[in-house]
């Protein structure tokens, strides 16, 4: 499941979203600039340190890394086999990207969506002269995160309903009702946003 905010009382959690995001960006650049193994080692140690400092359940967080690591191993491993890239290089690439994914995961686990979205809003206000509405971008980012589990639920339900009606596996029969449902859901979600006082003409300026 989506590695979203996990509440703990820790210094890492209290760090500003901007600091964390900036740090993540800087760390990524450094790791990618350093020679493979060294970068991976540096990022891995940093990640583990932060993991402990954030008082997060170490086992659970590392378990979230399992799928991406398998994936990375397959990706780069096959390449080593077929294209003759060196094994050392492959190992370095896998660990480097795994460590970067760990850092990214820590960012999302320790930062509230609202804070992250506020950060984006501040960043986007620089683009206001280009016609970008930062408040709208921010709201959409939050909505997207909220909609992911909602959509996963719709997919599950539509699949079950198809099966219950005797259609076991049919991509078209899955996508058509799913899309119809999403578009219909959009009506209610829009009404609900309006009902909760959202004003689309608001340009997000704090007056």
């Amino acid at each position: 499941m989506l590695g979203l905010y996990l509440h703990r009382d820790s210094a890492v959690h209290r760090l500003g979203a901007g600091v964390k995001m900036g740090g993540l960006l800087a760390a990524t650049l450094v790791v990618l600039a350093l020679p493979g193994a060294l970068g991976a080692l540096a990022a891995g140690l940093l990640g583990l340190g932060l993991l402990v400092a954030a008082k997060l359940p170490v086992g659970r967080v590392l378990r979230e890394l399992r799928a991406p690591v398998v994936m990375l191993t397959l990706l780069f491993g096959c390449q080593a086999l077929l294209a003759g890239t060196g094994w050392a290089e492959t190992l370095a690439a896998v660990t480097r990207f795994a460590a970067l994914i760990l850092l990214a995961t820590l960012m999302t686990l320790t930062t509230k969506v609202a804070d992250m979205v506020d950060l984006f809003e501040r960043l986007f206000s620089a683009l206001r002269p280009l016609g970008v509405n930062p408040a709208k971008m921010a709201l959409m980012l939050a909505l997207t995160i909220r909609f992911i589990p909602l959509l996963a639920e719709q997919v599950r339900e539509v699949r079950m309903a198809q099966q219950a009606r005797g259609v076991e596996r049919n991509i078209a029969a899955l996508f058509v009702p799913l899309l119809v449902k999403i578009l219909r859901l959009a009506d209610d979600l829009t009404a609900a946003l309006d009902a909760r006082g959202y004003d689309p003409t608001d340009d997000g300026r704090h007056t």
Partner: protein
Amino acid sequence: MLSTRDLVLSALFAALVAGLGMAPPIPLGFLPVPITAQSLGVMLAGALLGAKRGGLALLLFVLLVAAGLPLLAGGRGGVGVLMGPSGGFVLAFPVGAFVTGLLAERFATGANPIRLFAVCAIGGILAVYAGGIPWLSVVAGMPLEKAALAVMAFIPGDFIKAGIAAFAAAAVRRAGVLPTAHA
């Protein structure tokens, strides 16, 4: 001006692309770029929402990936991955959706699946590859022609995706629940 409905639709399709990431990615073997279902989302967003909202949907997706959410197939995310060999494709997703949408608004406003297929193929394949190939060539240190040739391995899968997107979009159009492209 984006209406509330536009916001909701873009966010819903961004979430749909994220949801497509739950389908397991297939590694090709000779390239560090997997076959994923997510480019199907690029085509659907463009074809059903149009250029502006579709492009926006994929932009949201890319921003969330950049922010570190593990939304790429196989649970990956973060700037690191975007700077990796497959990053160019992902960064081109918004362009792909925008182009698909633009073409759909011009040439495939009805429920004709063949037109929709063409539109999805141009936006969801050509435009996406145009970003992906040069990036791959630079990051993986491959000559451009070699990268372009290797990427042809995605074509059969991407044609199937364009077919699914065209069929689904046509059916949805017939159901009459589609928001107008320029609301």
